[in-house]
Symmetry: C2
């Protein structure tokens, strides 16, 4: 993800200050931000940036495949810049922390053709839920 700006420029993106800021934020290791969190961080660097621009830009990045939308609950969508290698998500049911995980094997092999109900299946997203180390057994926090 580290040459995101360069890749976007090659795709013909007009390089505005707003897009640069948003790309920088996603390029950091701040993963799984909501659109609102991206907006808050962006506004620290560019105070007048609008929510609409953040939504537009995130939407475009998703279409380009540069970031992935993650929906782990009914709340705000989260934006995951780690599209380099496939992964799934581990969510703490207590504090909401989200981490990337890499299960063994390919989940699609677990769904043979005769169980696909005639669908042409393209992807599988897995959300594992449980307690993170901080919230686990014995925690009173």
């Amino acid at each position: 993800m580290s040459d995101l700006l360069e890749r976007l420029r090659r795709r013909g993106w007009r390089m505005t200050a707003q897009r640069r800021v948003i790309a920088q934020i996603l390029d950091g290791d701040h993963v799984h931000l909501t659109a609102d969190e991206v907006h808050t961080r962006a506004a620290r660097l560019l105070p007048e940036i609008s929510r609409a621009t953040v939504y537009n830009t995130l939407g475009e990045l998703v279409v380009l495949g540069e970031v992935a939308e993650v929906t782990v609950d009914g709340r705000a969508k989260r934006y995951d810049p780690n599209t380099r290698r496939p992964h799934h998500h581990l969510v703490c049911t207590r504090c909401g922390t989200i981490r990337d995980v890499h299960p063994t094997g390919d989940p699609l092999t677990r769904l043979p053709a005769d169980r696909r109900l005639g669908f042409t299946v393209a992807t599988a997203d897995i959300v594992y839920r449980g307690l993170c180390p901080d919230c686990g057994v014995g925690s009173t926090a």
Copy 2:
């Protein structure tokens, strides 16, 4: 799910007309309804039923484990009365149809302890995405 009313009564639920109607709707084979769809159907039988009651009742049914919340996109949560046997979901990326599927094996075994990042993992939800038979290759619908 067919003795839902009976099970609820045994759990000490006060049996109101509203709760009866909602339980009946979920008891049918109308799976994966949104809260709003439940409200619409309920209002056909009980015109004055309020949205708040539908939300309250669905929430209670989720806590009791009688229905499961399913979030496949960022839109409205869906309520799945099939909690009898574990299953996952297959979503058509074109028309939005949702079907229950039963992959082979247990997805938790694909995440060995050394990949759990210290989490105590309890559940795994898989969302498979693709095209349903009606929307598949060759379809112009």
